[in-house]
Symmetry: C2
Subunit: 77 residues, 2 copies
């Protein structure tokens, strides 16, 4: 199985969700991308369908938007 990708931007709700997701799925099965620290990844996140963070891109290409932390537009700003 390919890894899932967890996109976040460092907001408190993101960090809480990150810990929960990593605990549930296992850190070996997930790649964490901080869009605030690594804005070069924003474009690929958008193309994958990420509309807000935190979000989990699953191996089959679905995007699960978790809570509503910050819109992609806010992360860009």
């Amino acid at each position: 199985m390919n890894k899932s990708i967890f996109y976040h931007a460092g907001c408190p709700v993101c960090i809480t969700a990150e810990h929960d997701i990593v605990n549930l799925i296992g850190s070996d099965n997930i790649e964490i991308i901080h869009l605030g620290n690594d804005p070069s990844k924003i474009k690929s996140a958008e193309l994958a369908g990420v509309q807000s963070v935190p979000a989990l891109l699953t191996p089959n290409g679905n995007v699960l938007h978790i809570n509503f932390g910050a819109s992609i537009a806010d992360v860009k700003g």
Copy 2:
């Protein structure tokens, strides 16, 4: 580790999210509750902090709201 509980109400986004979550976490580690079919569970879901479905209640008591399918108020109606 205690099981996670995945709350949903049968909406299309719920079903997609359910499949993804079960694939990621494993069906042995999760209990699925359909609030539309089992409205007696709505009260405990609300007390756990579920505000919309689909939502994942993690073993440590956090609620991850996934996408925004239907508000609890809608499920009640």
